[in-house]
Amino acid sequence: MAITDDVLVIGGGLAGATAALAAAETAPDARVRLVTAKQSTLRHASGLIDVLGYAPDSEGQGQEQEQGQGQTPIVDPFAELDTLPTGHPYERVGGEAVRDALEFFDDIAGDAYAGGHTDKNALVPTHGGTVKPTARYPTATADGLASDDRDALLVGFETLPDFEAPLAAAHLEAAGAPFDARGVTLSFPGIVRDDAKVTRYAHLLDRNEQVAAAGEDEIGAREALAAAVESHLEGEPRVGFPAIVGDDRPAAVRESLADALGVDIFEVPMGPPSLPGLRLEDLLYAALEDAGVRMTSGVPVVDYETGNDAIDHVVVDRNGAEIPHEAAQYVLATGGLVGKGIESGRERVSEPLFDCHVPHASDRYDWFVDDVFGEQPYARFGLAPDRELRPLDANDDPEFRNLRAAGAVLGGYDYAAEKSGAGVSLATGYVAGTRAGEESE
């Protein structure tokens, strides 16, 4: 028997979660369900919420190479939204919707995120040592802004080769950061294996596990870490660590370290697996539960049936059993090339679930340019929607009346170059979910 809901969101990343939350808020009586296959792209992402850091290349001058390279970052992303080319997801939903979506996010995130006090971008240190513009950042990173001129001590660990603190400090200086940064490399108290997972570091601190300390018996991991850092402090008012400072209780861990050292503590966002990204996912899933969204996770949507230009139902594969799921409105938020909402073969690029139209060059050699950071066509692969976010077919007609798309499954923007990934997922998720909620009633 079919499972029946009012709104069905497919894909549980930032865009899908936002869409489900927006639908639930817009239509409080509607039954909203989110079906998702695997962990989302957030496990890779740094957890920052970028809105727009650099202007995309305007149309026409789309020559090979050097698109944004060497640009200075945008100070006020919201002021730039109206200048974007036609077809860019922000242009589709409009600048006002982007603001609304960020406000919606700020409400959900509460005090886990900061940056909402201003329209301006912040410049956040990266683990490579340069800075990047972003609109919202985890509270754990708030004291680490590079656009804050207090001196900083960066602390790295011998066993975490991703973050070489002295190098990052030198790089910040080369990037012109307005403060003195120093870096030291320590061994992490309680880490005995060279290949411990990042969660191991975080859990040591979360649980304040007893670790061996020089001379003494055993002390808590937080005290031991503070003690190791203390002798290296030269009066810096803030100390930055790679983003491993707690998994379940990051605020408490930071507070213990801050109290012990008398400084502010911050995290530098890291590459995969990214704890800040996973914390954001946890936060969203808690909000979904609070909002009464029904969750079906660990299973993919594999097929669908239509009737009257609309999707009648989709089929979920639950360990081989094909279970129909029926709804009035659908939101496709299956991600881009990374989330597997967009796939490619030797001949063509496609959206594998509904086979919605994905504009792309027919010659595979036109999918990329030679400069790795050049204007990469593949980075813009995705669906082209109307202003309602309904994916359009090759003739610019909506593929289905009751299907909207949100997040990285959309095309027409290069989030990596623009620094707009999470912002687009929020804005389009918010709009798609709100519309789906309205029309489900």
Partner: protein
């Protein structure tokens, strides 16, 4: 007149490095110059098949005989660079029985151990072979790592006093009358400590004798002294698969094979290759259809290849040579034999010989022959010992095994590190117990100690570190570990050098992937791009930008 060096070898591929080693061991003062990095030419862009000779057993029995002899020698002196996979010549129903018989007889004529397997027996060895494979001939083909083998030769040459100068391009031959007495090189900025001279500066290096071992580029060098060396460069494509579908080298048993070999290498398998003449070895088209066609052809032998994930494709150019007047039309018909051109005998110009043609498998024999020739000219009567002297890293397996255990490295990594490093493993892996030795490249399991060792030897040139260690050559194509490799350069090298080295490595890794950009690999490319551009902002790093960022204008916190 005093010369800077006795023998000057041009070209740092397998041939040039092999010659430098051979001469250096014989006590000759040698300098080798290479325009890019070692293995930067064809040697770093080949299929890695250690031929048994089976491939040439019908068409070119002299080459076949030489292959089996050298195959046996290399398994002995360079066991750490060779994997003895064995090889199969596979017959499909449409392939001729007569050719199969000729192949078998040819192998036996040339002394290549060969046994016939039924289709079922062949599938027992290689379960992914197509159902309709009829029979196969088993021969001692192997997989060889050209990077390690070439570098091992260069290292040994250096140990015996040779000067090895990379990033030094020959821009002119010094010729006076009918005598060539050296070259002019232009030094370039190879990052790292191998840079002996300021980039852009030129240097004249004089020598008693010059050996032109520039492979597909030998004609260019010849032209610098108005000598005609008719190399016919011929390109071939290879595609790396993400898993090792076969453990044995798979060849198609038919007369003129194109795109018909699969060679297993460490955790991957490499498909290859094609043969098409090109005009310019530095600038030739790399085309999609070549890759597609090869995958189609090889999936007739191993059907799962059709849908398997590829990592990247790359091309190389063979330095084929024909004596003047042969006029072969099809490059697949040009002999794989090598030719020693003594320009004194041939052109009346003394002081230089060129060595052209040949194969990687027979590099040592080529080197021996030319070293004999040079020694005769110089009046040196030392004997060649390269067929017996193991290459650095290949001796002492037992010591190694012991060492591994005591290092406490877990077996997959230990095993692979050990294979890579040969007898140098204890030195490299015996890090201070208190020093952390985390894995820097997860895909290939390369540890900090190995990277540090490679940096010690190659300086800040991360591409050279990659070649020595295989770091950044696995599934993620460096997306996740390039940054970590660069981090290892600090504080030995300053921040700016590290930044440049990272950029160079990352661009180089991208170059190789472009021909396999679909499916999983395209998704991986997007992930890598996002990691480097979004998370790290390496595309718009203010440290590289011309304009200053005004930090005060941005959000400085609540």
């Amino acid at each position: 007149m005093a010369h800077d060096t006795t023998v000057l070898v041009l070209g740092g591929g397998s041939t040039g490095c092999g010659i430098a080693r051979d001469l250096a061991i014989r006590g000759v003062d040698v300098t080798l110059v290479e325009r890019g990095n070692l293995t930067g030419g064809t040697t770093g862009r080949m299929h890695g098949l250690l031929h048994s000779g089976g491939r040439y057993a019908v068409s070119d029995q002299a080459s076949a005989t030489e292959c089996i002899e050298e195959n046996e020698i290399l398994r002995d002196i360079a066991s750490h660079c060779v994997e003895e996979t064995g090889g199969l010549f596979v017959q499909r129903p449409e392939d001729s029985d007569e050719y199969f018989r000729e192949k078998l007889a040819g192998c036996r004529d040339c002394g290549i151990p060969a046994t016939v397997l039924s289709g079922r027996e062949a599938r027992e060895i290689e379960p992914y072979l197509a159902e309709d494979v009829a029979r196969a001939i088993r021969v001692p083909d192997g997989a060889v790592d050209p990077f390690r083998l070439c570098v091992a030769n260069a290292l040994d040459a250096e140990r015996h006093g040779a000067r090895v100068e990379t990033h030094a391009e020959v821009i002119d031959l010094l010729r006076e009358g009918d005598d060539i007495y050296g070259v002019e090189v232009r030094h370039d900025s190879g990052p790292g400590k191998r840079t002996h001279a300021t980039p852009g500066t030129t240097e004249e290096i004089t020598a008693e004798y010059v050996v032109n071992a520039t492979g597909a580029w030998a004609g260019r060098i010849g032209a610098m002294a108005d000598l005609d060396v008719a190399v016919r460069p011929s390109k071939g494509v290879m595609t790396i698969m993400n898993v090792r579908q076969v453990d044995t080298v798979i060849n198609r048993c038919r007369p003129k094979g194109d795109a018909d070999i699969i060679v297993p290498h460490e955790t991957t398998a490499i498909l290859g290759t094609t043969d098409e003449e090109v005009d310019d070895p530095d600038d030739y088209p790399e085309e999609q259809w070549e890759v597609d066609q090869m995958i189609d052809t090889l999936s007739e032998l191993v059907p799962i290849i059709e849908d398997a994930r590829t990592i990247r494709s790359f091309w190389g150019v063979r330095p084929l040579y024909e004596p003047p007047g042969t006029g072969t039309q099809d490059p697949t018909d040009i002999t794989r034999d090598f030719f020693l051109l003594d320009h004194a005998e041939r052109d009346g110009v003394g002081g230089m010989s060129s060595i052209v043609g040949g194969k990687f498998t027979t590099y040592r024999a080529m080197a021996e022959e030319i070293a004999d020739h040079v020694c005769a000219k110089l009046g040196v009567d030392a004997r060649c010992v390269t067929a017996e002297e193991p290459l650095p890293g290949s001796e002492d397996i037992a010591v190694l095994e012991e060492g591994m255990d005591s290092f406490g490295l877990r077996s997959p990594i230990a095993r692979r590190s050990k294979q890579r490093l040969g007898s140098r493993a204890p030195d490299v892996l015996e890090t201070n117990e208190n020093e952390a030795n985390p894995v820097i490249c997860q895909c290939e399991g390369v540890t900090r100690a190995e990277i540090q060792d490679a940096v010690e030897q190659s300086g800040s040139d991360l591409n050279a570190v990659r070649i020595r260690t295989r770091a950044s050559m696995g599934n993620c194509q460096g997306g996740f570990c390039c940054q970590n490799m660069a981090n290892e350069l600090h504080p030995r090298y300053d921040e700016e050098t590290v930044r440049d080295a990272l950029d160079e490595l990352f661009q180089e890794r991208w170059k190789g992937q472009r021909h396999a950009l679909w499916g999983e690999q395209l998704s991986q490319a997007m992930l890598n791009y996002a990691l480097h551009a979004t998370t790290m902002n390496r595309d718009n790093d203010p440290a590289n930008a011309p304009a200053q960022v005004d930090y005060a204008q941005f959000d400085g916190g609540a």
